[in-house]
Symmetry: C2
Subunit: 335 residues, 2 copies
């Protein structure tokens, strides 16, 4: 299976991205089209000097432009038609690859996907899902930022799409919760109150309202919210994890005994870090597009890029988009 | 100064609450009226057997009913007119105490406050602020749950009220950020886009948009958001902190070396825990009421209750409500 990787985007530059592609080729036998400045990418490949059998799985597709992290998504894709992300989605449109992975400007990636591929039939708003580590199994949160002002129908479709995606994580009959404040029915803002009956009357495995507290408990498979709330959840969690680690480090550095203790417990800390690291969970799938796309964190390591490429291949193998389409149609027919 | 403590509400029962009142009396010389079932409270006081000079600072005011955590706030205050929280706010209305502290049903506490005291002149919606620990100085987030559907004017007033409250934390000229997704002007949902100019044209020290990531950095003093978003921020932070601690513990328990290391680093962990513990920061002030009220977490320790009582006395001493009133009037006159 051929997957396009936007090899120019991300905070660290092409080297980690290419290394991720090579890992995906090595560990999963996937073919990767690196999209970006050909001479530059060729230099990095020469530097990394992969084994010839891996090199056979990698190709370069030239793109002359790059969309920067701080550019306005819609303006950027309009102006930079030969940007790496636009070229990558064009390869998908032409059937030359089966999925696109990018660690670049996520708004621009979504916009490029919608521009090149369009939406699946019946999808009002494509969205971005994210997989969070929890105490038990991972949880899928959707939307995490594509749609800041939502109507109940949008949240309902997020639930349908994220439920279909859950098969990539080997979850069957995923439970779905509606993120709000207070677990009782009828608690929340107007959007939540109007979304509740749509979910309740659907064929989804809807378990009712869940609270912010429940996100990391791992008692629900899919949590839906609008993209404004979802993005704040994502960012506040990242920010808290980072701040807490720094505060703990501060305190440990205050005494030699604590430092020594920390050194002894370091393997446990490393396992903990791996367990909560988003890199382990691949990227954030764009759901609702007529094609498969995955957004990675700008800071993604080569390990995270590898996992995202493998995740993309699983989405294709599991026919997630057909599933979304089928579920949406069957929900439509219930009404 | 006399402060009323709802001595019946909270997850742990009256003992911790009374112990908190005794600590406030001992450490800050504050007088506390314990409101609740008189014989029951008397039994607890006898059991705790405080020194006579402390006992002089404590009195009991009888209330025959209790509002439970899961009761509907507005129904509950309507039905239970002799509940501890209603009686406490009645004491404040009558001028017998200068503030109310409760660790009970926060919706009911807010509703009781509004019912008994009303709002400050010009306040559209009273709200609840919360103080979060961060890498640097604490940050005040408002609203954290009283108002789930807000208009721009409400968020603007939260900014004014939380800025006034910041004097309790010895902050002068507090910086104010608007919680949204993406730091650039114009990023966010419709509510945020419409609130931005109100803050920009005010005399507040408005620094623009902040992201979820910024909450725990400590680079801003006041962050405003609607109560739906704020409550989810609060709950997701609590949930993540709890889940992360459990995951870390799991990993540490896997090896004797890590266990030993942890024991050696334990004082550092304890300092860390104290630094992030909400108990250290007292309770959540109800802002916009024509009187001073503080809500504590249901799980509050006696230490947290003590801090909340002291915080209430500081709000009174600093004339926070007069300040709110003055700021709102002067902002009105600017328009």
């Amino acid at each position: 299976m051929q997957i396009a990787l936007d090899a120019m985007a991300g905070d660290h530059g092409p080297e980690d991205l290419i290394a991720g592609a090579l890992l995906a080729a090595e560990q999963a036998g996937l073919e990767v089209s690196l999209v970006g400045d050909e001479p530059l990418l060729q230099d990095y490949i020469d530097k990394l000097a992969p084994a010839p059998e891996l090199l056979d799985l990698i190709k370069i597709v030239h793109a002359s432009q790059v969309i920067e992290m701080n550019e306005h998504p819609v303006d950027a894709i309009r102006k930079k038609k030969d940007s790496s992300v636009m070229v990558a989605f064009d390869l998908l449109k032409q059937g030359k690859v089966e999925a696109v992975v990018s660690a670049g400007n996520s708004g621009a990636t979504m916009a490029a996907g919608v521009r090149k591929l369009g939406r699946l039939n019946g999808v009002s708003r494509p969205g971005i899902a994210s997989v969070f580590p929890t105490l038990k199994k991972p949880v899928i949160l959707m939307d995490i930022g594509a749609n800041v002002d939502c109507r109940p129908q949008h949240l309902f479709q997020f639930a349908v799409m994220a439920s279909a995606f859950s098969r990539v994580l080997d979850i069957s009959n995923p439970s779905v919760g509606l993120l709000t404040i207070g677990e009782e029915t009828g608690k929340g803002n107007n959007l939540i109150k109007e979304t509740f009956p749509l979910l309740q009357n659907s064929s989804l495995n809807f378990i009712g309202n869940v609270e912010g507290r429940d996100v990391f408990q791992g008692n629900v498979d899919v949590i839906v919210c609008d993209g404004f709330v979802g993005n704040i959840c994502l960012k506040i969690s990242e920010g808290l994890a980072e701040a807490a680690m720094m505060m703990l480090r501060d305190e440990i550095l205050k005494s030699w005994m604590a430092k020594l203790g920390y050194l002894m417990a370091r393997p446990a800390f490393k396992r903990f870090k791996k367990r909560v690291d988003y890199a382990t969970y691949g990227g954030a799938p764009l759901l609702g597009l007529a094609g498969t796309g995955i957004i990675c964190h700008g800071k993604s390591s080569s390990e995270a890029i590898k996992n995202a490429i493998i995740e993309a291949s699983k989405m294709v193998k599991h026919n997630i988009n057909q599933d979304i389409q089928r579920s949406l149609n069957s929900e439509e027919n219930r009404v």
